[in-house]
Structures are given as C-alpha cells and as structure tokens.
Symmetry: C2
Subunit: 196 residues, 2 copies
C-alpha cells in the first residue's frame, strides 16, 4: 500500500463521497468503492462495522464539513447579514452548476433514498438540516438588527421556506441537468429577503 496523505479510513470516506454524490448510497457497492479507493476489500470491515456504519460516517463527515463552510460563509461579520445570507445561496447555485458532483448537497441526493432505509443515517441528515436552518434563521435576525434586512414577522419560517425551496429546486435541476430552477430560486430568494 502506497503512502497516503490521509489515513485509509478518511480516504475511503472521501472517495465514497464523490461516488455517492453521483450514484447514491445503494448505487455504490463496496467493490466499486474499494476499487476506486484502491483499498483491498478485506480492509473494509477493519475500518467500518458494516456498510451502514460507513454510510453514517460518510454523512457525519459531510455534515461536519458543511457546518464549517456554513460558519465561514454566514459568520463573516465584515459583511452585512443580508449579503452573507444571499451569498450562501449564490454558493449553492455555483456548486450545483459546476461539473464537480463531488460538492453537491447530500441532503438533496440522499434524503429520499435513506428515509426508509436507515434511521441512523436519516437522523444525521435531519440534524444537519436543523443546524442549517438555525444558522440561516440567526443570519436573518442579524440582518434585522444590523439594518440590512427589513423587519420580518417570523425569521425562522422564512428561512425554512427558502431552504425547502432550494432543496426542491435542486431536485428538479438534477433531473434536467439544467440550472434554470436554481436561478429562478435565487431570484425568488432575493425578493423574499427585502432590503429596508
């Protein structure tokens, strides 16, 4: 085994992520995964208890990284909160357009598949969603405070509406490999978050 920058476990998860972002969870078999990662099949059960255990690790990894990038984007206190909020969705738009399926949102890709398959994986995604919604709500509140967003009745409801809309738009955009639904949603988002 050649030396690898990261340890084998992380390496498997990294390769798994890019494969899974394209083909789904069930759609990536262990053989394919391990071949792509250049890890012998026998090693798998040294690093993970089962495929589901691996799936959970994959999602935990994803959620953790996502939260980090969320903190970077939404937490940058230099910008007015409204810009940070819109910037988050601009980033989403760009990721979905780019050809690197690698970075696509696993909530969109895996939620439906995992829902009736693995309670553990569902829970991890669920918690990721909640944490994103909290961050978005908080940013809206900051925007009201800093004056970049006009006062709102219920920031949490708005954050929820917008986030769900992006999930749905991504689903449809994936079907047609066309970013029009996302661009329309970007426009709708701008209008839904009024500057004062």
């Amino acid at each position: 085994m050649k030396t690898r920058s990261k340890d084998t476990r992380s390496h498997i998860l990294e390769v798994g992520r890019s494969l899974t972002a394209r083909q789904g969870y069930v759609g990536v078999g262990l053989s394919e995964l391990l071949k792509a990662a250049d890890v012998p099949k026998g090693s798998f059960y040294h690093y993970f208890r089962s495929k589901e255990d691996y799936g959970c690790a994959l999602l935990e990894d994803f959620v953790a990284q996502y939260q980090q990038s969320l903190a970077d984007t939404l937490g940058n206190k230099e910008l007015p909160a409204r810009n940070r909020f819109l910037g988050y969705f601009e980033g989403w738009l760009e990721k979905q357009i780019g050809p690197s399926l690698q970075d696509r949102c696993l909530v969109v890709k895996l939620s439906a598949e995992v829902a009736e398959l693995s309670p553990d994986m569902s829970r991890i995604l669920q918690e990721g969603v909640n944490s994103i919604l909290s961050s978005l709500t908080e940013t809206l509140e900051q925007g009201i405070s800093d004056g970049s967003i006009a006062p709102l009745d219920d920031p949490h409801s708005l954050a929820q509406s917008i986030y769900y809309q992006w999930l749905g738009a991504s689903l449809v955009a994936g079907l047609s490999h066309d970013d029009a639904p996302l661009k329309a949603t970007m426009e709708a988002t701008r209008e839904a978050v009024p500057a004062p």
Copy 2:
C-alpha cells in the same frame, strides 16, 4: 393463475408502485417485485423489455394518474381558484401524513435516485413536473381573473416557488417521519397566495 381484476402488466405496475414508493427504484429487485405481485419471473420479460423499461412504465403510469387527479382537483370550476389551489396542497399534506406510502409523490422519492441513472426516467419525471407547474400557474391566473387571488406580478414564478418548497418540505418530512415541515409549508403557501 387466479383471475385478476386487471391485466398482469397493470398489476405488476401497481405492486411496483407501492414497493417503490417505500424502497426506491434500485431498492426493489425483480425477484422481490414479482414475488410480491405473485407473478412468475418468466412473465416479466414478456411485458417489459428490461427493468428500466418497467421503470419508465411505472413513472408514466404515475404521471398519468397524477395529471388526472390534478385535473379533478384544480379543474373543479365550482370553487374559486384560490380554494382549488390551496386544496391541492391540503391534499398533498394529507397523503404524506397517512400511512399509505403508496400514494406518496414519486417525484420526491425518485428524482435524486434516477437523475444520474436513467435519462429516460428522468425525462418522464421532468415532464410531470412541468405539467404540474403549468396547471398550478394556470390556476393562479384563474384566481386573479375570478377575483379570489390578489393580482400578482408573475404567477409562474410563484407557482414554481411554492411547488419547490413542497418538494423540499416533503424530503425533510420523510427524513423525520414528522409532518411539521409540511404544515409549516401549508401556512407559508396560504400567506404567499393572498386573497384580495
């Protein structure tokens, strides 16, 4: 073979629908499907050229039925258009709550899975989405005409926003088996479609 109310092909599709609504497309193997349908394996390839051909038939069937029920709900000219519009989403809410996964929306369940798997299946779902969006837009326009909905800048954008929001909310609701996201979306929908 006992007499069956419908022909075998339709029967396979019907059983396939309920299995697929729960387990996804890849998640239902031919053996499981045919065993559940009590149809011998040899028959499958008499009715379908391949599993993908069956998948397309499944989706075409679903889309056709969906369009029918859409016409029934949105086309009922007795009611003001706003009531018909909101009624459609109330129906969605009820279906998702009920334990009969059978009736759940296959756009939500299969879009992500099918996107990178089968262009044909993707196209059928895509066309279903477009047709739903057209019907919703049309109903909004009728509402503006009949006075049940206050004038809107762009009915199509609004229909799109609302529909995407429901897709996303359904995805998340499935994760937690909790209808809160859908109820919140129902409320948001009511507010987004203002009576004059």
